[in-house]
């Protein structure tokens, strides 16, 4: 396959970025998108040019480190992470545009790498439980209804990649925050902090300058883990409950 790439290049946080075009020949359709970028970087290195910086770690679709906007879609045309996207999803001769996640809360560090520590601070604000440590409790010490366990588990699959923010027309992190609120709120261990958690996480999210949610649904449509949109409604319900109790 012959591919033309338009890639966002930006030297550092405070530098101006621009799109740069590269041509790649002999791309195998079995390569993953990141392997294709590896090939590009080998070529750039041999030509004494600066390779394109991009985030990646497990390359198995479970860590959430990778993620770029490909032809205007977060993680590209397949509903998976960028590392699990393969070149067979493209056609020979395609021009592919590659951009970083774009949000004020995700400043570009270099090229396609963005700083997502704003997500960490949202988690620090309330995405935890206060549980005593020690040996693992008995498996049946705490019975949890199956539907609740399923819902918590579905929400817990969020890997914090940031595609929801990248895709949202408002650059809102609502789906991310909502997945954490739903995950912990469905389980008995999450109850002691349930009312304060949602308020703290929302406040932190506002402080990080994420946008507001208008229920458009782009986030859930691009989420590689299929976090359902109704987690946002769960968050809103928890928030209404907290505000009703005077917390917040």
């Amino acid at each position: 396959m012959n591919i033309t790439l338009r890639v966002w290049r930006q030297k550092g946080r405070d530098d101006e970025g621009r799109m740069v075009t590269y041509k790649l020949t002999d791309v195998s359709p079995d390569m993953s998108f990141l392997e294709m970028l590896d090939v590009l970087n080998e070529k750039l290195t041999l030509e004494n040019e600066d390779p394109v910086a991009f985030d990646h770690d497990c390359r198995e679709g479970i860590c959430g480190a990778c993620g770029v906007v490909i032809d205007g879609e977060a993680h590209g045309p397949e509903r998976t992470t960028t590392c699990q996207l393969h070149m067979r999803s493209f056609k020979d001769g395609d021009t592919i545009t590659v951009e970083p996640w774009r949000a004020k809360a995700f400043p570009v560090v270099k090229d396609l790498v963005v700083d997502r520590s704003s997500f960490d601070r949202i988690i620090q604000a309330g995405g935890y439980i206060s549980a005593p440590t020690g040996t693992a409790p008995d498996a049946h010490a705490n019975p949890i209804p199956k539907p609740d366990a399923d819902r918590a588990f579905d929400a817990a699959t969020c890997i914090g990649c940031g595609a929801c923010v990248a895709a949202c027309p408002n650059a809102s992190s609502m789906l991310f925050t909502a997945s954490k609120v739903t995950h912990l709120g469905m389980l008995p261990q999450g109850q002691p902090e349930r009312a304060s958690r949602v308020v703290r996480m929302i406040n932190q999210q506002d402080e990080e300058d994420f946008g507001g949610c208008t229920n458009i649904g782009e986030c859930a449509a691009v989420c590689p883990k299929g976090i359902p949109l109704d987690t946002i409604s769960q968050l809103n319900r928890d928030l209404l409950g907290s505000l009703g109790k005077g917390i917040g």
Binding site: V69, E73, K104, F210, G211, T214, N215, A220, V222, L229
Partner: protein, 212 residues
């Protein structure tokens, strides 16, 4: 946004019901309009109910606009102009959700015109009148087809606004659950369609000479 929107949706349905009285003739329509002024009388002063209603509506409109501007400003801050995508694809978003903001501006402008036209009657195509029925019939005569056209366009914009707004409002109020999602979306579509058709019928009927 959701609460003020809900008040406005309920008002629209009541307003549509009143409009459809035009098909029962001048007496029914004017009688209905007059009865709104006397609702609650003598418990309330004359026009009392109407003014309470107007104040609640105005407050809802202002809160709705304030929330919309605040959300818009936050979205601008969250993704400033310097961070726009070069290529952005719509994956899921509907036309209705895409046009919420500009559609809202169009609706606001229309509401101002609409009040000047049919409530205050300062703008009076076809002649002013004390009878609400005559104002309506005069204003939508065939030679004022452009008034009808603007009205229909605005009502269609309201329809799109409701289609996304009702769904979004319900989600914000915490009603959305995965298995309820198709039902909520159907409710939004049905109300949007009913309101659009209900509002478009009277002016079209007048313009095409079926009423008046």
């Amino acid at each position: 946004m959701a609460t003020s929107g809900a008040i406005l949706v309920l008002y629209l349905i009541a307003h549509m019901y009143g409009n459809l009285k035009v098909f029962s003739g001048q007496e029914a329509f004017d009688g209905y309009a007059h009865s709104l002024r006397e609702l609650g009388y003598p418990m309330l002063p004359e026009n009392g109910f109407l003014w309470v209603f107007r104040i609640v509506l105005l407050a809802s409109v202002l809160i709705h606009i304030y929330s919309a501007v605040a959300l818009w400003a936050r979205a601008r801050r969250a993704r400033p102009a310097s961070q726009r995508y070069q290529v952005k694809k719509r994956v899921h978003r509907t036309y209705a959700s895409y046009t919420m903001r500009w559609g809202g501006v169009l609706i606001a402008l229309f509401v101002i015109f609409h009040i000047l036209h049919l409530t205050v009657n300062v703008i009076a195509p076809g002649g002013a009148s004390d009878s609400p029925y005559e104002r309506l019939v005069n204003g939508f005569q065939p030679q004022f087809w452009f008034v009808t056209l603007f009205y229909v366009a605005a009502v269609v914009a309201v329809g799109f606004h409701l289609r996304h707004g009702i769904w979004s409002g319900l989600a914000t109020l915490g009603v959305n659950q995965a298995r309820r999602q198709p039902v909520l979306n159907s409710i939004a579509t049905v109300i949007a369609l009913v309101v659009t058709v209900g509002f478009v019928l009277p002016p079209l009927a007048i313009t095409f000479g079926l009423v008046g």
